[in-house]
């Protein structure tokens, strides 16, 4: 087991390094540069451009720039954003909270609701509820998140007036203390609902299919033959086996949470990492992008390692490999 864990950690580190390098190559290959944003759309002054390129070291050869990023990153310094002239670490620091709050709550809700409905549908396969759930699941799966978000906003914020439209707090009121917590909770309902609804189908499908699959295994038939109650068979044998793929899916969702909810953040003006990343891409803010993707790569690696370890604990076949 220890050997297995060490091997996973090593491959995680390697993944982060490869991602870091690939990311550098890709963003450098993209046309355009951050200087255009610094200069503004209405000027194209070559003297200004040259001065800014020199200030930010963009006139250095690419490999020098790469090793600068790499040595800084190895020392734990994510560098300074060219556009905002502030440390990338502090920019990420002020943005990861809202994203994790929104993403985590939505992922847990989607996991519970989707899995529950999936199991229910599998147990009543071919029934009316199964048909209904499957249909709703397909419909939700087909909806673009930003569109769904906008529709929910129009219904619940504009028509009914129950919930706020944008942001994380009511800026006019400027609540503090417990009122602030409630204010954030209120602002979170619509983006969270959107994200939960679009994430449910994944959990629903995977829960339903793996329950069905396990139910048809020979050992279940054998258990039935022994006369064990259906309830006991399900709780003790089907559920435990069928839940494994869901754990993987949850792990993957967690890993992509940091940048994966961009569109919802934009629609609801939620001050999270997705918007930060999107802006950095549009402005070609190289240090910010390198920093964000390094953090994401490390998060993905860590989550994957944890998922693999949890998996190995659940399923001995994996760690004996």
């Amino acid at each position: 087991m220890t050997k297995y864990v060490i091997r996973r950690i090593f491959s995680g580190l390697l993944t982060a390094l490869i991602v870091f390098t690939l990311n550098f190559i890709i963003i450098k290959a993209a046309p355009g540069d951050p200087i255009k944003t610094l200069m503004g759309k209405d000027t194209n002054d070559p003297v200004l451009r040259a001065a800014l390129e020199e200030k930010w070291g963009l006139n250095e050869p690419e490999y020098v720039q790469y090793f600068n990023y790499l040595t800084n990153a190895l020392r734990g310094d994510l560098g300074t954003s060219i556009i905002y002239n502030q440390s990338v670490a502090s920019m990420i620091g002020s943005r990861w909270g809202p994203t994790v709050l929104l993403g985590l709550v939505a992922a847990i809700l989607a996991l519970l609701i989707g899995t529950f409905l999936g199991i229910f549908a599998a147990q009543h396969e071919g029934g009316i509820m199964d048909g209904l759930f499957s249909m709703v699941s397909y419909a939700l799966d087909a909806m673009p998140p930003f569109w769904l978000g906008l529709m929910l906003m129009i219904v619940f914020a504009s028509r009914l007036g129950w919930l706020p439209t944008n942001g994380m707090t009511d800026v006019r009121a400027g609540y503090t203390g417990f009122a602030y917590v409630l204010d954030v909770a209120r602002h979170m309902v619509l983006p969270c609902l959107t994200l939960t609804l679009v994430s449910i189908p994944g959990y629903f499908r995977i829960a339903k299919s793996s329950v069905l699959q396990v139910s048809n295994e020979d050992f279940i038939t054998t258990l039935r033959a022994t006369g064990m109650s259906e309830r006991k068979i399900f709780d003790k044998y089907i559920f435990r086996n069928a839940i494994l793929p869901t754990i993987t899916l949850f792990g993957i969702t967690m890993a992509f949470l940091i940048t994966g909810i961009t569109l919802i953040e934009i629609v609801f003006s939620w001050p999270g990492m997705g918007r930060l990343t999107m802006t950095a891409i549009n402005q070609r803010d190289y240090p910010a992008l390198m920093g964000i993707y390094l953090v994401v790569a490390i998060c993905v690696s860590v989550v994957m390692i944890i998922v693999d370890i949890v998996y190995a604990l659940f399923d001995p076949r994996i760690r004996y490999d």
Partner: protein, 532 residues
């Protein structure tokens, strides 16, 4: 199974609780949304919430031309002069200004009551320090424009004299726009680079109507009224600049009372909003025409006949109607026809498909087997302001008379690289500000000017640009600019298609917003705005 159900049920309850809380506090929000809100209890000023698309790069308005900070900058800082909603130059820190007869010195008389937000007086020394620093630092956006300033003389505490090495009547307008806010010398002159100064990174100190109070990254910036503002305390108590990246969200927020002013109304929402009594819509028109630019160094369009034929394929009325519901006025002049300098007599040719084809035939072009006179042309543009649709409509007409015309739509930065740096294009379509002074024509037309992406070069035009810039008599200047435009509509380095105009949406209970104050206050200045 029951256990799972219980967990699920409790989560649903939690969700409902959150919604429930919302309806309690919701009523207070709506009161706030009625605009006077909490403010009415104190000074009667209230809080106006204004939209920005993104975070400011920093709090120094003179380093970059940062659209996301520009609104805040115009309320925190002052310039010598500023532009009103009609792009005319009006007083800011300078009550008055005059050129010497030879145009070589420009004198500004500063308002004597002006103070910085920390109480220090604003003096001519601040003016000298600010503009000489900008001139000497290539990384400041306006640096090149100030190369014509030899020295700034402090005649007395409130008189600054700019000694120029070349007469330029457009300097006042240049000093009313981007990157030209007067900064406090006592804060900035500490040996640090401007970009590192604390005023740039955390707490700006200006001399404008509002003081900086708070900034929450990704969310908003809060400004408080400056009671000591030299042109009188603002009527509003607070300005909150709220970051809302999406136009549709901004419109919903506006109708729900969470926003009081939005930057841009999507064309498809104008009808719905104009029926809403709580929302006010005003057309905001800027001298930023959409234009089709030819790369004259590319042999496909270096022949004038091809450019003439394309010019006659442009159906401006149809484009304005289909792409913008007719909001953006068509433009036939080489300089925006709202300007005093526009030549509205010598204009681009009107739509005439038959004549367009005839021009090609007369120039000796013949149809190939596929029915094309000219092949391989393409319009390169970026996805903004309906540009791709404009390009499609032009291309369709070109195709109909036998000019093969493709369309390539890139993301803005990629487009900028191809057009502005690599000059790797045949025809490009873009918008762009050509003010505040008609002298800005030189950026597009002067031989080797940095925004002259068509590579146009005409010695007579260069000569006229110099004459016009140095001329103090506006009637003579106008004649020079008219002649330039006459040449442009013949040579066709670029073709204007329509003006830039958008509907600005704001809360109907707000009065005297920036666009109401032509000749009186700045075009993004909220000093005089108040809630009913």
């Amino acid at each position: 199974m029951k256990k799972h159900f219980a967990v699920l049920l409790s989560l649903v309850m939690l969700f409902l609780l959150a919604v429930g809380c919302s309806s309690n506090t919701g009523s207070t929000t709506n009161n706030g949304g009625d605009a006077t809100g909490d403010g009415s209890e104190t000074t009667g000023g209230g809080t106006a919430i204004l939209q920005a698309y993104g975070d400011p790069m920093n709090f120094c308005p003179d380093i970059s031309s940062d659209d996301n900070f520009y609104l805040a900058a115009q309320n925190i800082y002052s310039r010598l002069t500023k532009l009103d909603a009609n792009c005319n130059v009006i007083p800011d820190l300078a009550d008055s200004w005059e050129y010497s007869d030879d145009g070589m010195t420009l004198t500004f008389h500063l308002n004597e009551d002006a103070t910085w937000h920390d109480g220090e007086p604003v003096t001519a020394e601040d003016v000298k320090y600010t503009f000489e620093y900008i001139r000497d630092h290539d990384t400041c956006v306006l640096s090149s424009n100030l190369a014509i300033v030899d020295e700034i003389e402090v005649a007395d505490d409130h008189t600054a004299v700019f000694h120029l090495n070349k007469a330029d009547m457009s300097l006042v307008a240049t000093l009313s726009w981007y990157g030209c806010f007067v900064l406090p010398e006592h804060i900035y002159n500490n040996g640090q680079d401007w970009s590192e100064n604390e005023a740039t990174t955390t707490h700006p100190i200006g001399s404008g109507p509002f003081k900086f109070s708070e900034y929450n990254q990704g969310q908003n910036m809060i400004l408080e009224a400056n009671p000591d503002y030299f042109r009188g305390a603002p009527k509003l108590e607070r300005l909150i600049i709220s970051i809302i990246p999406d136009d549709t969200t901004a419109m919903q927020s506006l109708t729900n009372g969470e926003l009081d002013w939005a930057i841009n109304t999507p064309v498809n929402m104008v009808e719905q909003l104009s029926a809403n009594e709580d929302v006010r819509l005003d057309v905001n028109q800027l001298p930023s025409p959409t234009r089709l630019v030819f790369n004259l160094e590319n042999e496909l369009v270096s022949d004038l006949a091809v450019r003439q034929a394309i010019a006659m394929c442009i159906d401006r009325e149809d484009i304005s109607e289909k792409v913008t519901n007719g909001i953006r006025p068509v433009e036939y002049s080489a300089y925006p026809s709202v300007s005093w300098a526009a030549n509205t007599e010598d204009t681009y040719p009107a739509l005439d498909l038959e004549a367009a084809e005839q021009v090609l035939i007369d120039a000796g072009y013949t149809k190939d087997a596929d029915g094309y006179y000219v092949r391989g042309l393409s319009i390169l543009t970026f996805d903004s302001d309906g540009n791709p649709d404009v390009a499609r409509l032009i291309a369709a007409n070109c195709e109909s008379i036998g000019i093969e015309m493709d369309i390539e739509v890139l993301e803005y930065n990629a487009w900028s690289q191809r057009v502005e740096l690599d000059r790797d294009y045949v025809i490009e379509l873009q918008g762009g500000f050509v003010g505040p002074d008609p002298a800005a024509m030189q950026n597009l037309l002067r031989t080797d000017a940095y925004s002259n992406v068509s590579g146009y070069s005409n010695t007579r035009v260069d000569e006229l640009l110099d004459l016009a810039a140095a001329e103090s008599d506006q009637d003579i200047r106008k004649e020079h600019y008219h002649e330039i435009q006459q040449i442009v509509v013949q040579d066709l380095p670029y073709i204007n298609i329509m003006e830039y105009a958008v509907y600005e949406a704001s809360s109907a209970s707000l009065h005297d917003i920036p666009m109401d104050g032509a000749d009186q206050w700045g075009w993004a200045e909220w000093t005089y705005a108040y809630f009913e």
